[in-house]
């Protein structure tokens, strides 16, 4: 006998029974298809939801917390910031360019859905190793996709991350964060209300995009023509359509013409119609024949679950429909009435408004009644591997330092990161700083927004709880280096297969680590995304929670000093001493990924961050850079390579001092005339300092340990990406 339909659609037997109970009758295939996409892991968070509840989400400045399309915080002067992060990992593994492009498109819609104008994108990216041609193919395609879409849609990509590691071979991570601004009084939520109001579909026609999961329902003939069962799952982005959609939607919002608006993302119309209805406590009749199609012969289940890009659903009062259509016409955006708000809470799919009823389900059941799993958790028994603390000292520390360097400008120079004239500190530094201008009047507030994304799979593999807390701490320090104070966190939890108890344990631990750190730094989590089943060839990726941190610069009267050296300036290392190499980048490159993570002292970390922020605000520094992957050695080498000034460092005990990744540490570059003053400020803040050397000349010298010419160091920094990524790729 054939497999029952619900299983082919990815629903469990229990879930199918549950659906029939909700409906009080057997579900028909269309209804089953809608439940199957809405109850998928991707849409329902069924494995992670019970854990996510533990995150701290409240603060007086939070206007909208997790659960909506984006988190929204008050940033003063009548301006609110909407922020959200999403993953597009799996699509990018199959079609890197379009996977990344549509990832950017999707996150943008989440932001302008809230009434905000998107002003910045960030793209934390993780790929397999550079010596693997397919990983290079993915990396090149993904970067080109972000570039192609982000630049053309007219939203600058102002920062991100780029990591190459064997754990991501076959399963890249493509996360995209978007930040938008709106006048505080224009906040709109994705909900329908007002019986008799109209649901208007804006944007692209609907094709068979992204209906992979429900294509089992497709009639024969469709798959005969070509065997491309992957075909329907690939979505193609159209940044030009999105650009017009942004302008049209913001124009509709400016004129207060919509009651609610919702983007179409995962699960397409099934999601958007049921979500707007259930949030508004109403129902909706949808005429499936009214939906403009790109292809002939599409069936209702395809239309309802298609993930065609660049579409929005607006709920409008009938009286203003004409004006709505007029604005859309100006922007050449297709707009079609496809539904009506009803009372009673049923989502009905009809063939013509007066025609036969094809599906009739309680709208809220697609969300509120989605299954919740408390999957088993288990800490792994095997240790991760040897600790780098047990390794012998390197013979050639200089060469090993150069091996750890990687200039990422090959990536971010492909992104417009300056549009809107906001970018005071762009990609390449510890964090991005944007001028904060009013989104509709353009008035400059004289303040700034600071933004960073961070992740560290090495730390999280050793200890997901402590590792995630360390990542949050790093974000806080990155912001401090540009003078920013933290305001809100969004996070993207990239993990393996949740059916593996070790993965669920990692997820749960990471959430606890994030909660702990966010509480310690008094920063709420306003949104996030969970991406599970990141595995290839049966191996789960290392746990990779990615943190996006938004902050404020209270007075943006000058450019922060940046991660640079200045000839003749003194180098001061702030923060506690550290020497363990557990979980370090250096350890990982020597097959010693294990050990103990450095301890994080929250109290100390807050003091260091506050001190650095103050020193930056007071213009006391010639340069500043926090220590992260690769420790002091990499931090100084990056600064030297970027500024063309060498370093002369006092004697350090051994390579540990160079490569350990202990938290709460920052290199200050200080004009000798200011040194006394800076050291006094550090003393007063009760932050330990060490005077470690001098920025000078054309050599990079650590006494008795290494001596490199600035030229070779700079080449080692600049060449890895351009060389590897020009070397040829293959999709095999």
């Amino acid at each position: 006998m054939n497999e029952p339909l619900h299983r082919a659609l990815g629903l469990t037997d229990d879930e199918a029974v549950n659906i029939d109970e909700i409906l009080d009758r057997p579900a028909n295939p269309l209804e089953l298809a809608m439940y199957s996409v809405m109850w998928s892991e991707h849409c329902s968070y069924k494995s992670s939801r019970i854990h996510l509840k533990r995150l701290p989400t409240e603060a007086p400045w939070v206007l909208v917390g997790p659960g909506e399309n984006a988190g929204v915080v008050d940033v003063g002067d009548g301006i609110a910031a909407a922020i959200r992060i999403e993953s597009h990992n799996h699509p990018s593994a199959i079609e890197p360019y379009q996977g990344a492009a549509t990832g950017a498109g999707g996150i943008l819609r989440d932001i302008f859905t809230m009434g905000a104008r998107p002003i910045a994108l960030m793209d934390p990216l993780r790929f397999g190793p550079l010596d693997d041609p397919r990983s290079r193919w993915i990396a090149e395609g993904v970067v080109a996709g972000i570039s192609g879409y982000g630049n053309a849609v007219g939203v600058p990509t102002v920062g991100g991350e780029t990591v190459f590691d064997a754990t991501y071979k076959g399963n890249p991570l493509v996360n995209v964060l978007c930040l938008g601004l709106l006048p505080t009084d224009r906040l709109v939520l994705g909900q329908a209300s007002g019986v008799g109001n109209l649901a208007v579909l804006l944007g692209n026609a609907t094709g068979r995009d992204g209906i992979g999961g429900v294509s089992v329902l497709a009639s024969a003939g469709f798959s005969e023509e070509d065997d491309g069962d992957k075909r329907p799952s690939v979505q193609v982005g159209d940044p030009y359509e999105e650009k017009r959609l942004i302008e049209a939607c913001l124009a509709l919002l400016d004129e207060k013409l919509v009651v609610g608006i919702q983007d179409l993302g995962g699960a397409g119309l099934a999601c958007a119609t049921s979500e707007t209805a259930s949030r508004g406590g109403v129902g909706m009749d949808v005429d499936v024949t009214a939906i403009p199609r790109r292809e002939p012969g599409m069936e209702p289940h395809e239309v309802m679950t298609s993930e065609s890009q660049e579409r929005m659903l607006a709920i409008v009062e009938p009286e203003v429909l004409a004006r709505v259509l007029e604005i859309c016409a100006r922007w050449e955006v297709q707009a079609t009435v496809i539904g009506r708000v009803t009372d009673g809470g049923a989502l009905r799919i009809l063939e013509g408004f007066e025609g036969p009823v094809l599906a009739d389900i309680p709208a809220s059941s697609l969300h509120d009644l989605a299954p919740l799993y408390e999957r088993p958790l288990k800490a792994p028994e095997e240790p991760l591997g040897p600790s780098a603390d047990q390794l012998a000292a390197p013979v050639d520390p200089g060469a090993e330092l150069m091996d750890l360097l990687q200039d990422l400008s090959w990536v971010y120079s492909q992104y417009d990161h300056q549009l809107f004239l906001n970018t005071v500190v762009g990609p390449g530094d510890d964090a991005t700083v944007l001028r904060l201008k009013h989104p509709t009047t353009g008035e400059d507030t004289g303040r700034g927004l600071a933004l960073t994304t961070d992740g560290n799979h090495r730390w999280c593999a050793v200890d997901p709880r402590a590792g995630t807390a360390l990542v949050v701490a790093e974000s806080v320090l990155n912001l401090a280096c540009v003078g920013g104070r933290p305001l809100a966190v969004v996070n993207c939890l990239n993990f393996g297969n949740p059916e593996h108890p070790e993965v669920m344990w990692q997820l749960s631990e990471a959430i606890d680590g994030m909660s702990e750190a966010c509480l310690a730094f008094d920063v709420p989590v306003v949104g996030g995304n969970v991406s599970l089943y990141n595995e290839s060839a049966g191996n789960d990726i290392a746990p990779t929670p990615v943190i996006g941190l938004l902050g404020l610069v209270d007075e943006l009267s000058h450019r922060p000093p940046g991660a640079v050296l200045k000839e003749g300036h003194r180098l001061v290392l702030l923060g506690p001493e550290a020497e363990g190499l557990g979980g370090s980048l250096w350890g990982a490159t020597h097959d010693a990924p294990g050990g103990d993570l450095p301890a994080l002292d929250y109290e100390m970390h807050r003091r260091v961050a506050a001190l650095v922020r103050q020193l930056v605000a007071d213009q006391m520094l010639g340069g500043v850079h926090d220590l992260s992957s690769g420790g002091l050695g990499v931090a100084l080498a990056e600064m030297a390579a970027r500024s063309g000034v060498g370093v002369s460092l006092a004697r350090t005990p051994d390579h540990r001092a160079l490569f350990n990744e202990g938290p709460s540490r920052v290199v200050l570059v200080v004009d000798p005339e200011r040194l006394t003053e800076v050291l006094a400020a550090c003393d007063e803040a009760e932050v330990p300092t060490a005077r470690i050397g001098l920025a000078t000349g054309q050599r990079f010298v650590v006494k008795d340990l290494l001596d490199l010419s600035l030229e070779e160091l700079t080449a080692a920094f600049k060449s890895p990406l351009p060389e590897a990524l020009g070397a040829g790729t293959t999709n095999r």
Partner: protein, 84 residues
């Protein structure tokens, strides 16, 4: 021996083609009526060394599948002939 190859790449059926659609939408304003179904593809031409036509054909096809196109969204037709 030298052969010349032409790879004619098109988006697979059903995959949306924003460039084609945009050109099509623009045409009436330029005074062209009745133009429909606009699609945009690309061609890659090159010469290659091989012993025989069959070998050249195989090589060009493999190059096409593993490198020049992504078969997930693109279809390609490969034509190889002896170079003149």
């Amino acid at each position: 021996m030298k052969f010349s190859a032409l790879v004619d790449v098109r988006l697979r059926g059903g995959i949306s083609d924003p460039a084609g659609a945009t050109i099509e939408r623009a045409l009436p304003a330029l005074g062209y009526q009745g133009v429909e179904g606009v699609t945009v593809g690309k061609t890659i031409r090159f010469t290659l060394e091989a012993e025989t036509l069959t070998e050249a054909q195989t090589m060009a096809e493999e190059l096409c599948e593993s490198f020049l196109t992504n078969p997930v969204i693109e279809d390609a037709e490969v034509t190889v002939e002896e170079a003149s």
